[in-house]
């Protein structure tokens, strides 16, 4: 089943849910949906085309909104489902009922961007140290940090 026929069938089945679909080369498809339709789209892709493997979830900070890309894979191609959510109130439903292995990636975007994932089975931070101050989301474009002054031993002698 090549990319063209896959996209056609998907658009026929999901109709208006799919805002745009494009093939970026052999074995690569990019699809855009609204956050509300994300769950239904992934469920359809998993059941119909065997996209059971979620490679990872990428978060991108486009300064006007957050974009989330879900990279799904089956034996033939990688389909990336992208969706945009608001930057001021970032909320997205969890995919764990459909793909249980998504939980770690969702915890990671929670830490890195401050996105709230609804329905996640385990919402503890994934990567922070015990003394990480609340409210700091490093991968946001407007997040900066002060570098500690370095202490070079032997200098000044």
């Amino acid at each position: 089943m090549n990319e063209q026929s896959l996209m056609e069938e998907m658009q026929k089945a999901l109709g208006t849910k799919v805002a745009e679909a494009a093939s970026a080369g052999p074995r690569r498809i990019f699809v855009r949906v609204e956050p509300g339709d994300l769950f239904a789209t992934v469920k359809y892709l998993r059941d119909r085309f065997n996209f059971t493997h979620l490679s990872t979830i990428t978060g991108v900070d486009r300064t006007d909104a957050f974009e989330l890309l879900y990279h799904l894979a089956n034996e033939n191609c990688i389909l990336t489902v992208r969706t945009r959510i608001s930057r001021t109130e970032p909320v997205i439903p969890s995919l764990t009922p459909v793909i249980p292995g998504a939980v770690l990636y969702e915890r990671e975007i929670q830490d890195m961007f401050g996105i709230k994932v609804e329905g996640i089975p385990d919402s503890r931070p994934l990567l922070w140290s015990d003394d990480w101050p609340e409210g700091n989301y490093p991968l946001r474009k407007d997040w900066t940090f002060e570098r500690r002054p370095e202490n070079i031993p032997g200098e000044g002698q």
Binding site: A24, G25, R27, R28, F30, T52, H53, L54, S55, T56, T58, G59, V60, D61, L69, H71, A73, E75, N76, C77, I78, T80, I99, P100, G101, A102, V103, L104, Y105, M112, R124, L126, L127, W128, S129, P138, L139
Partner: protein, 400 residues
Amino acid sequence: MKVTIPIGPQHPALKEPISIRLSIDGEIITGADLRLGYNHRGIEKLAETKNYTQNIYLVERICGICSHSHTTCYVQGVEKLMGLEVPKRGLYIRTLIAELERVHSHLLWLGVAGHEAGFDTFFMYTWRDREVVMDMLEIISGNRVHYAMNTFGGVRRDITDMQKKKMLDLLDLLRKRTAYYLSIGSTEPTFVARITGVGKLPPEKAVSLCAVGPVLRASGIPRDVRKDDPYAAYADVPFDVCTFDTCDVLARVVVRVRELVESYRIIEYLLLNLPAGEISVKAPRKVPAGEVVSRYEAPRGENIHFIKSNDTDKPERLKVRAPTLANYPATLEMLKNSFIADVPLIFAAIDPCICCAERMVELNSRGGAREVVSMSQLRKMADAFYKKAGLKKKAGTWPL
């Protein structure tokens, strides 16, 4: 009794910061949990401040064992954005280094698995032979780890005929030694007994928890990025995807040993069929805007990079997901209903590369009492437990 295992030297080989907390009920583990953070270095944020060429060196140092996998995945993606066509000879050399890295990583892992199963002589043997592979890599690239062979448009160094001949000789030596290891399993019943039936992961769970690499293939599922999504020279090279279907640690050992043998075949094919020509093309400094998803089959599983560019010389976003992170949920599943004595072995069997991913496992048990046990104590407990139990009555057979 709540058993807490603190950070400390975990592997004899790779003392990476790990913290494990187990919940146990008697000898059996009832629950497991994860906590990461010790190895988090903030590479994704740092990559946005460096230009594309500097990022090759940054990405290489995500991991010391699978360094070539991260650079190749990154360079492949950026080459697609730049619209470059790498010459055949460059692709072959890239693939050659990739397979040598796979051999070195599997030999390293075999040694560690032997050590965890109480078989230290095996550990010393495999690491001695690993030095042969490091020699081969040093002949080509000049360094034992962090080879830095990739550049945009191809590779940086070429292989001369004399180097080719030396590598073929060393490959023969490696093959003889590996044949010896294959025979060890059949003559060493305690080794096979120790690893059979441990850490079971049924195929449906492996798929739904998104496991990757040898862990997935050890549950009988033939997914391999080199076949599903061929990159570099893999479309030209004939090889098989190795699976095994007993879903336990024995299967993982068998899959990796079979992959070793396949890798020798691939390396020989590449060396004998190396096409003539250029090894690289010139690359532009600025990368046109676009997005690309790049995948690679690292020794531990599927490595995926996502790069977004914005027509400058620095990337807009670089996302890296290393294979071991994907195997964590599967590990937690494996640890449930196992004996404590098997924890070091199960954990080692997924071939953890913590610097790639960072992990912590936490288990909670009924009762509430707490005890702090270090990993080396666990290993001693495991050895004592198995010595007392004697040979398992129903030991599996060595299938090779």
